[in-house]
Symmetry: D3
């Protein structure tokens, strides 16, 4: 049985990570998971939020947004509506937590890195593409900050790698990396964030139609772990390329 776009159940969409997409940002990436395209920038600033001052520790945070016409029908701008929707908040928080999971704040020193993940085109999996791309932008920005001596040498602020993928059950079959059409039809939908050593940073599973059983959960986790391992390789290859 093949999927809507011809993939096998356990196959990722074509994933590309282009670095150096902005001349201003300290790290920047255009990441695509198939037709999902997210522009991720990492901005380094000296200093930390007030509640963290004097701790000697840095901070990493993220903001996610969708361009109004990144989707099939145009959505209102959140700036025009004057408030940020719940979904946006939730994803921004998820991205921030995911990347903080691989940061040694002491080694980062009192610096703040903001990851902006703006979805240029959406076709399912925008949050997982954002996390996967933001990791690469973050890594580049840390290298930049080390070059500028903002971050002291000796101790590496990045304690590991992190990537994310969606999995879901469609027509009873567990699938990896859902595109929009699959996502809409999924009975269960899960986003999984893994470190490069195969451990979990976030597991968020939701029954969209029917509650799911333990063995379904297990199948989905198996798929996700495999997917993240592949993404980890793609991230490493991207970072290995000379810009």
């Amino acid at each position: 049985m093949s999927r809507i776009d011809g993939r096998t159940p356990e196959q990722l969409r074509p994933v590309t990570i282009e670095r150096g997409w902005s001349k201003h940002a300290e790290g920047s990436v255009l990441v695509s998971f198939g037709d999902t395209k997210v522009f991720c920038t990492a901005s380094v600033a000296e200093g930390v939020p007030r509640w963290r001052k004097g701790t000697g520790e840095g901070w990493v945070t993220a903001e996610y947004a969708m361009l109004p016409r990144s989707t099939n029908t145009r959505g209102d701008r959140e700036s025009v509506r004057g408030k940020i929707g719940g979904r946006t908040h939730e994803i921004s928080r998820l991205i921030g937590r995911s990347l903080r999971a691989v940061i040694d704040f002491k080694a980062l020193g009192e610096n703040t890195i903001v990851l902006d993940c703006d979805v240029l085109q959406a076709d399912g999996g925008t949050r997982t593409a954002a996390i996967t791309g933001a990791y690469v932008a973050l890594a580049d920005s840390i290298t930049w900050a080390q070059g500028k001596k903002l971050i002291k040498h000796g101790r590496q602020p990045l304690t590991g790698t992190v990537s994310a993928v969606s999995v879901g059950i469609v027509d009873g079959i567990p699938l990896l990396d859902l595109c929009y059409e699959e996502d809409v039809r999924a009975e269960t939908d899960m986003n999984v964030v893994c470190t490069g050593d195969g451990r979990f940073v976030e597991v968020q599973g939701t029954a969209e139609a029917e509650p799911f059983a333990r063995d379904e959960l297990n199948s989905l986790l198996d798929l996700a772990v495999t997917g993240c391992a592949t993404l980890d390789t793609t991230q490493r290859e991207a970072l290995a390329r000379t810009r």
Copy 2:
């Protein structure tokens, strides 16, 4: 080894569910998980949001909030700040999804039920207490609406029961139903929403300090499933009491 409050790792805090706490609401519950106290009301209104009109299907949604002094130090009111924080949004959405998982919208007919979950006192696990209590308020409000003939007889809008509990790893040990002090110290924190037949509606696990391994995830899920089974019994007993 015993916990801060003397419980064993797999023990829930004392859970109470008092029905009929409001003279106005169609369903209302004061739920407590130890010192966490959440006031849940279910408000039934005829009609549905615009995007659902004419479908013959109903809607269930939820709003979660904390009273400013429900916590140890007073927080700003979101109404005064003029916007709802990301955490509030996220939890409101979680509660709504969890309860919709056991609703047959066709059977509900074009009625809307709003679940308000206001935290009077917080000591960890406010979202799981809210889901557990809101289920009972929801059940009462459906009975009310059936009595008023707003909902037609013949088909039951509730397709199952739902409850939720938090689990986490503290000092390497998986614990059930974390209180605030445990929650703060947890390496991994997970909220699990189960139906009465032991299937999952939501699984949200977050590595607070260290990424977690698959076997840790499995231990936590085991604990959560047991906890939800106990909560399911408590819910049934509460609903069986004559008010």
Copy 3:
């Protein structure tokens, strides 16, 4: 002639004041005037707003809010609407002024006490119940702060007691402590805030239907003064109880 709930015109509803309703707040009270139930907390914080810094004087302020389903039909949350309505503002300001009337700010020192009055169930007279309950929470919080040496001994910050009651003319008859149904039908509606020695802190009378004459005003004031005297006793009894 008896009232809708069997009271005589000059009779209060059953009034209860339960202290110690929150484990977090420095003072906390659940006050009920019949079916009107308001949860009042007093939060003590060191320091004062910027405009008062360096004066050696403290500050007392209040915030009033209604839970969405405290009323017969569910109201929108002000946090969701993104702004606070005029009525909420007006009542918050009234509560704050009323309690500041019995505070010696020098004796309080540069501390701030915030009184949160959240209406759990409304049946008329929510603002007067809030003032009456908040006074008790305030008194408890001051005792707490004296125990913690935040407030110096020698001079008592509370210069008196304060309570409040509504009065109104219904079908030509002046009534004390209107319940919701009476309030809706009142030709004139007045809220009166008195100190324990029978003087006035606030008098707010409004002609809802017909302008009112001087002798009607006088009858209402007579009723209110009596009502506040009774409330003063209830407050003292509540404060005399060992918690």
Copy 4:
């Protein structure tokens, strides 16, 4: 003993009411109470708010605002801050209620009149000047609407006249119509809204420093009633002038 500006305690400031101050509004007045100057316009629109549709009854509402430099030091614009302050809300509501007290909504028919009261210069008593001026603008707008046949003849929408004045106790002496300097020093401050026949529409007394006794309240009410009688004459004279 004479006051800061040479008046006797029971003397109003010079009051002027100029009609026809706007070429656009259906009724418009520049009212001054000494240096307090308020620009009042009455805007008539066919139709009523949604909740009143089909009742055959009209509506009257008011909005009060201060220009940023109407006061001694410049205040922030509420439009710039993005929200309306509690004081503004409170006064807008007071003005609306006061004018609705002399309206027969059936006679008004399904028309809405909005009274805008913008303070050009403030020197105490802005809300009472606003009510007093708005009444005249309202009367002119009703005459206009009758001329345009928006309001049917036969039944007069205005059932009486209404004016307002502040009173207060300064250094133990009850004073009529406080200017800003007196207002700041007042121990007790009261705003009284009367109909032309000497009855009360609103009585709002506040202890600014010390609680006030019943006889003080009585003296203030006596003063206010006299003041409103004089304002009533001034309003009638203004309306009698040919524009």
Copy 5:
């Protein structure tokens, strides 16, 4: 051919500039261009915005607003809507830039002058009347600040004079100082801000219906320069009058 109000194409409406219209503001003017009336105040405050601190330079900014019934049909208050519209922002920014063009910030010292331009009655050309009037209020406020020694003598903060006028093409004919009815019908509309020596501070031309040719642009600029020269004289005469 004569215009709607009998003027020739190159004629301004009657322009009046009344100084001293506020007892509080350091400079204040009621400016009228025919039926357009704008109340301009200049408020001087010591200190500058944060980003300018320590530079030794001052700041001048402006806020423009329309009273709700300054126009033919009542508009919503921006404070009630909770946000400032694009047009308001744009005009506030234009007024600020125009006046900053004739300020020597070093000579002003670290003082801020805020120009509030509130439209009391609108009949076209509100922004140009506002700039023309605000200049006079600004000049008066600088004189006041020099008298108070807030601004040091020796160097004049005002480096020139500035005024503004609208021009437009109606039925193919270039007209000076459009009233509302002309403005609505204009094919091209231009606002021009000139210094007293005939140079340009702002030129903002917009094709309302048809794109305009270079020679039309030239005719409009010619008209505007003449108009501003006349306004410059009116400003000088106003400032020469003893208040």
Copy 6:
């Protein structure tokens, strides 16, 4: 004398217009003027805003925004701040007006086209690049709508072409198409929007430092007209390419 990037004064930066940059939008373009990159989408929707219903005429509007890290230092998101800044409003309005200048609304029928112009990377001239790119996206979306029969054949909604360029005086020399560094140093800055036949849609000139003389204005207009003629060619070439 050559410019910072080696251009002659009358030379544009390299301009590229890539069509088909979004799979969702009916028209989409990535336009670059040197390092300034703007992503423009045109979204077609049936129906028009309420005030235009039943007129048989369509509507075209625009929204401009900058990604937070499109600039050298990260700016706050307007969605996070909860309001849109004045500059954003002003530019959105300018883009909308510019494109409406070449639209025959009757021919468009009751359809709305929204142009979203999101700046991915800023280096001066973002609004002029946005207008230039948005025209091409608009043209593509109209072709699409004609193909879908949303727009009737027979009458062409586009009545001409439109492009825009900035000009300014730097060190006394008029320059075409300023990059950021030139823009910051410009004494006078002008944005000019022209139709393909060399007429003006908008002329917005601002004296940044010194007021400018008529002959300087003329030199700038000459430069701008030439620049727009070149851009017009680039637009036509882009539209001629098969996608």
